[in-house]
Amino acid sequence: MITLQWLYALAGAMFAAIALLSVADRSNPKRFGNAAFWGLMALSLLAGDRIGDFGNGLLVLGLAGLAGFGFIGRSHPSTTSDEERVRWSERLGNKLFLPALIIPATALIGTLFYNYTAIGEYGWFEAKRETYMFLGLGVLLAIAAIFLWLRPPALAPLQEGRRLIDAIGWAAVLPQMLAALGVLFAAAGVGTIIGELTQSVIPRGSIFLTVVVFGLGMAIFTMIMGNAFAAFPVMATAIGVPLLIQGYGGDAAVIGAVGMLAGFCGTLMTPMAANFNLVPAALLELKDQYGVVKVQIATALPLLAVNILIIYVAGFHL
């Protein structure tokens, strides 16, 4: 069976190659820092299960130190110029989209086939992870197609990959760091404390105000944790179940489902949700790393109000 380990190995091999290419890049004054940083990522992906929890901890401290004290910097691997790119795009025309579509198409069609035909019954892939497997397959197919068609230099995929990952820099690793921070917050009992504090601000007897505190609490705690998944059990335990469902007899499905969506409104408004908000800012080379968060606020706030109203109306009056 193909498991996630295979994908970790693929990604690990890519980061290892990027680390080696970084060392060889004499044009980058921070080449050793970059090599160490991507080398540690390779080590994590290739051998994370063998170096122990403390070993992984030291690895993370190494990543944070390299990134935080300015040891990594953007590289400029040789690539085509803007003029060359315009010429290529004119020569190749819209066929250029085909390789780009291989990845989403493989993931989409593969997932559908795997789940809705008998193929899935063979159990080729680790359960519930099949989309990732097809993503990996799509990447390999796309690279093969590009090589057959355009015959780029052999190292081009890795050098172009290095160009992009160096442009993203430490933001590529931050989401994983934040997920780990969430685990520590939970272990330290932050959830329980927040739950108690929220409960203490609720005025007794008003369903509407309790719903408001529940919705706002979901959004704000999600902003703190960067993840509605961490906020939901806390808010459900503090307010959702004891007050809204058991106390006031609200509809459990509405309170659960729309409560989670109120949390998602918080996700749109926080830099803590780095993979959604900071990574794209780096990926699109925005000057303002909070640029994405800023444009999302005006969607998130009205939608949060709507979610609170849906909980109130559908949860208690339908």
Binding site: F54, A67, T111, V173, A236, V292
Partner: protein
Amino acid sequence: MTNYWPLLGILLVVAGFALRLNPMLVVTAAAIVTGLLAGMDIVEVISTFGKAFNDNRIIAIVWIVLPVIGLLERHGLQQRAATLIRGFKKATTGKLLIFYLAYRQITAAIGLHSTAGHPQTVRPLVAPMALAAAEKQHGELDEETAETVKAYSAGTDNVGLFFGEDIFFAIGSIVLIQQTLATYGYNLAPLHLAVWAIPTAIFAFMIHGTRLVLLDRRLARRRGPVPPIAQTAEVGE
């Protein structure tokens, strides 16, 4: 008596992000401080942090698409995406992003949420197309306008994903809601929960769609009138 000290970790994160310190250091410092304040020793803190990092490696998988995106950019993919949009006379940034919003919501709603995303679709296709459409509406873009258009491209992907995926009943968040409520004796079918994601999905489309229409108006309005001298100069040639 509750120990409120671990909240200091949150304060550190908020202050660190507000001061724009390097987030990698902020997060690491907050993790260590929070763990120590909760009574762990330093080895335990580092081990817990390391284990959690290792358990979340799936987040790093998505970067395997970068070599493909880079190779295609090398051959002019972004330029091609822009050319394609310039060819559609009526394409505007807002219309394009509304279309992508609907596409993202619908594909996420049928469980295909991992098939699109910032590295896979936004950087190589959606953002360059949105920029090209904006240039058609607005003339040459100043840096601030280009930043706004790019930020809207990313934001539209997020809104579409968040308020589409929960309609798919076999997704993590639905399972989490179900499990949490089940511990209190409320056994709900995942489908029953997923149905309640639909009203919010519709409102999300309307609210964000309205903002995209307004973005179009702003892009059209900011276009300065064509200077008459430039026009005569062109005729003269």
